[in-house]
């Protein structure tokens, strides 16, 4: 091989090596997840995880306490503990009446003096969904719409043009929502400032919010149909 050819081939080899290395790095790089969070975001995540851990530990200790109670007590007392557990669970699901401080929201129609006239406003399931999500976000504990208690399984549907909650129509406006919360004043303030008000206004409805010291929420009286339970994982 001539000397010139040798150098030429060598330089081509250099290029090839370089390209292969870059290609290799590019493909191996894609498999790694990039960490783009800054220190504060990482701290917040840490805080969240610690809170979650704390909650889990608390519920573990509660469960341990219950187990201990079962083991140590006589059969009569065991029955009592069982009944107590059932009551606690029923309370949580919404099978019992609840009384407490909260806010009472009345959704009433607004009438404009328009020449063409207007249709009587109706509360659509979408709007109701939005309202409930917002209430839950701002710390509502228990909610009832009219005489229907909202549980985790309560369906809100559109059936032939009218809104159904718990498979029963909610009727026409005005509708009263009773919401229990730990801090009703705060919840009221949040709701007064929320953009949902405006959306209700667009649909010719208004929302009146009153603070109440004592509200009685009805129990959920239907059967709890829980057909599909899936592990969410994680």
């Amino acid at each position: 091989m001539k000397k010139r050819t040798k150098w030429l081939v060598s330089i081509v080899f250099l290029f090839i090596g370089f390209m292969v290395a870059v290609q290799f790095q590019t493909t191996s790089y894609e498999s790694q997840m990039r960490e783009t969070r800054d220190v504060w975001e990482v701290r917040e995540e840490l805080q969240r995880q610690q809170d979650a851990q704390q909650e889990l530990l608390e519920s573990i200790s509660d469960a341990d306490q219950t187990i201990e109670d079962y083991e140590q007590q006589s059969s009569g007392e065991q029955l009592d503990t069982l009944i107590e557990s059932i009551e606690v669970l029923e309370e949580r699901v919404g099978l019992n009446k609840v009384e407490g401080a909260g806010i009472e929201m009345t959704i009433a129609p607004i009438f404009e003096e328009s020449v063409t006239g207007q249709a009587y406003p109706e509360l659509s399931p979408h709007l109701l969904h939005r309202l409930l999500n917002e209430l839950n976000t701002y710390g509502a504990d228990e909610i009832s719409i009219g005489e229907e208690r909202i549980t985790n399984l309560s369906p809100i549907r559109d059936v032939n043009g009218s809104t159904y909650v718990n498979n029963r129509p909610i009727g026409s406006l005005p509708i009263t929502l009773k919401v229990l919360a730990e801090d009703p004043a705060k919840l009221r303030n949040y709701m007064k400032a929320s953009p949902t008000q405006d959306i209700f206004n667009i649909d010719n409805m208004e929302m009146k919010i009153e603070l109440k010291d004592s509200l009685l929420l009805p129990e959920f009286d239907g059967a709890l149909h829980l057909e599909i339970l899936e592990e969410t994982g994680g």
């Binding site: 081939v9 081509v12 250099l14 390209m19 590019t26």
Partner: protein, 118 residues
């Protein structure tokens, strides 16, 4: 013989150390360029064994193949047809053929050597 291998190692180290990464959108181009480079390389080795190696042909082949492959990939992206697959196919076939010829030549040479010794 050792100089190209030395340079290959230098190239690899340079590529790893410089920490260069190609954006996702261009990774197709680079992969096809690497394939074209391999094709030229094996073509060169084959020509060397056939004793008709010419450095001008080798160098122009290297540059031309890479540019053509990149161009084909580019046109493919513009047209929405995976044209780079055509280049991958062509280079793949040529690679295998060249490798087969190189293998046969080496075997032939060894057989000839044995025959001569007898």
């Amino acid at each position: 013989m050792w100089l190209p291998i030395l340079f290959l190692i230098i190239g690899l180290t340079l590529g790893v150390l410089t920490d260069i990464r190609i954006p996702d959108a261009y990774s197709d181009y680079l992969s096809i360029a690497v394939l074209a480079a391999f094709d030229t390389l094996f073509g060169g080795i084959r020509a060397q064994l056939e004793k008709n190696f010419d450095d001008t042909v080798f160098l122009t082949g290297f540059i031309f193949n890479i540019s053509l492959a990149a161009l084909l990939a580019f046109i493919g992206v513009q047209l929405g047809v995976d044209l780079y697959l055509a280049a991958v196919f062509a280079f793949g076939v040529r690679l295998f053929r060249n490798l087969a010829i190189i293998r046969r030549m080496i075997i032939d040479q060894k057989l000839l050597m044995k025959f001569r010794k007898k």
